[in-house]
């Protein structure tokens, strides 16, 4: 089972991102679970969302997980040491930041020795979608790093999932996803 934990601030679209990823993977025949841990949810409060992806139905309804991937979509949350909770040496971190990896690791010491990739999903979403909604570019980066699904197949599914939005929003998101896929490092 593949397990993914998102770190976000409420309102940045982690729940939507987690559900979109689950939807994409379900279309390939996988079983999925997408959920989030809610507090007294206020816009801007740190929160977590989760994806589980497996070949068989997912029975575990506990919130606890040992993530294979940690996706941090808010640039300030990378400094919270909680992002390494319950991870292993193999856990892959993809974090939103304007810094390059070396500078980031100098200040976010808890990530030293971890497998870390960086992407400026905030800047990409601002430039391509016009708002700081870093969830879809993070999906582009995740698909690149994980190789979980061929990128072309991912684009076909995500286009369909976004189809309820106006064309301008769909186009912006697709551009953001493609840019993040190219720029993650």
């Amino acid at each position: 089972m593949l397990q993914i934990r998102w770190h976000s601030r409420a309102g940045q679209g982690a729940v939507t991102g987690a559900k979109a990823l689950a939807d994409v993977m379900a279309r390939t025949g996988k079983y999925v679970q997408a959920y989030s841990v809610y507090g007294a949810e206020k816009r801007g409060a740190p929160m977590t969302a989760y994806d589980k992806i497996d070949d068989k139905p997912i029975l575990d309804h506990s919130k606890w997980m040992r993530p294979d991937y940690v996706l941090v979509i808010d640039p300030s949350l990378v400094f919270q040491e909680e992002i390494v909770n319950n991870t292993t040496d193999d856990t892959v971190f993809i974090v939103t930041t304007h810094m390059d990896k070396e500078d980031l690791l100098n200040v976010a010491k808890h990530l030293q020795g971890k497998k870390v990739y960086v992407i400026d999903a905030i800047k990409i979403s601002q430039e391509e979608i016009g708002r700081a909604i870093p969830n879809t570019p993070m999906l582009g980066a995740f698909v690149k790093i994980s190789g979980i699904i061929p990128f072309e197949d991912f684009l076909v599914s995500i286009k369909d999932i976004l189809s309820k939005f106006p064309q301008k929003i769909i186009d912006g998101n697709l551009r953001a996803i493609k840019r993040a896929y190219e720029e993650v490092k």
């Binding site: 575990d60 309804h61 506990s62």
Partner: protein, 405 residues
């Protein structure tokens, strides 16, 4: 005429969306509801379906849950198919009217998303509201995942509206753990679903003005007892109808529901009894325990009311020790599931060693490891052939270990 909703063979829905689609497909005449976390999206989605032309019925905005259930009673007595949704405090406010609905034999369907009761205020899942409505004269069905929330909501209409039953039904799903967890759901098409649920057959509708009837009459010493026993009898005799509906549903979907669900119980020495999403988590704990050589199985009443006590006793016939896990604060005694399972065994001359665990209050996480621990403790009782663990324990509770004997 309501528009057809195009559905994929595999959707990714959370429990709320699954329940909302089931209500839509049943073409309910009246939904009266007052939204409350975590069942709000059921009402919200349903209202959206209505606004988008996918529902023909009425949606009644009310000022409280007491009014919501009262409007449901009125609409059902008038002769319509009626449904609502609620949780927690909303459920508590409805309780007075829940008894009215069942006493008037109105087959209302209520999709409940289970949540803790205040105080302290808590929006997360436990079974406090389900237990609060235990004696209200409704049939209570338990769903462990979004697929089951969808399936059982469709079944609920068939069961409650059956000529031999005519009782209100709740479907229950754990707050957030099911209601807000998106999983793969395989829905029926709108035609198939409606065909399964069938047209509503009103019985003694108040709108049939040529045949006037009274609902909510007063009966004192002379007849109250007979009315209530009739109602109880209808619940007690609803088991075969529930099984019939489940069996028809299986023919249609291949998904089989039972009055009592089990997992690896056939050759088990010990068993855990629990309801809700934790039943599925516990399946993983059972697999782990069996790798370590502990022959453990699981049992869950799919139907909490009427309580299938003889069926439960039969299925637990060969186990030596049973742990009953209650997801509700027992407040001064042992948990309800413990009490009822113990009574079921006792009444059938069985004497498994019984223990009680309280877990998951207010959404406290219950993991595979936690349940594995309970299995190991229960196995200690079996090995000793007497109870060597506390009568009542608490799973994943902070602070020093607490127990009661």
């Amino acid at each position: 005429m309501a528009q057809k909703y195009e559905l994929k063979q595999r959707e990714v829905w959370d429990g709320n969306l699954a329940a909302a689609h089931a209500l839509r497909q049943a073409q309910v005449d009246v939904v009266a509801a007052y939204p409350i976390t975590p069942s709000t999206p059921i009402v919200q989605n349903y209202a959206q379906f209505l606004a988008d032309g996918y529902v023909d019925g009425e949606f009644v905005m009310v000022e409280s849950e007491h009014s919501a259930m009262s409007a449901c009673v009125g609409a059902a007595a008038a002769g319509g198919r009626v449904a609502t949704a609620t949780s927690s405090q909303g459920y508590a406010l409805m309780v007075e009217v829940l008894y009215q609905a069942s006493g008037m034999r109105l087959p209302i369907v209520m999709t409940v998303v289970n949540r803790a009761l205040a105080s302290p205020l808590n929006i997360h899942g436990d079974h406090s509201d389900l237990y609060l409505g235990r004696d209200a004269g409704w049939i209570h069905l338990i769903a462990n995942n979004p697929q089951e929330a969808y399936d059982l909501t469709l079944c609920a209409f068939r069961i409650g509206e059956d000529e031999r039953v005519r009782l209100p039904v709740t479907t229950n799903q754990d707050g957030f753990l099911v209601s807000h967890t998106a999983q793969v759901v395989e829905p029926l098409s709108d035609e198939e679903a409606y065909k399964f649920v069938g047209d509503y057959k009103p019985k003694y509708p108040m709108l049939d003005t040529k045949n006037p009837v009274t609902y909510g009459a007063q009966t004192e010493e002379e007849w109250h007892f007979e009315h209530k026993v009739n109602q109880h009898k209808a619940l007690m005799e609803s088991f075969p109808v529930i099984e019939e509906v489940f069996s028809e549903f299986e023919k249609l979907t291949g998904r089989k529901y039972n009055l009592v669900e089990t997992y690896k119980l056939d050759d088990a020495d010990i068993a855990l009894v629990l309801m809700g999403s934790a039943f599925e988590t516990a399946m993983l704990a059972v697999d782990k325990a069996r790798e370590e050589g502990i022959k453990v199985g699981l049992l869950m009443p799919r139907v909490f009311r009427p309580f299938p006590y003889n069926e439960i006793a039969k299925k637990l016939k060969n186990v030596k020790a049973v742990a009953a896990l209650d997801r509700s604060a027992p407040m001064g005694t042992t948990g309800a599931l413990f009490n009822e399972v113990s009574a079921a065994l006792m009444a059938n001359g069985q004497s498994a060693i019984m223990t009680n665990y309280i877990y998951g209050l207010g959404g406290r996480d219950t993991t595979v490891e936690h349940i594995l621990e309970v299995i190991k403790e229960t196995n200690e009782n079996k090995k000793a052939n007497k109870r060597v663990t506390p009568l009542q324990g608490f799973i994943n509770l902070r602070g020093p270990k607490l127990s009661f004997n």
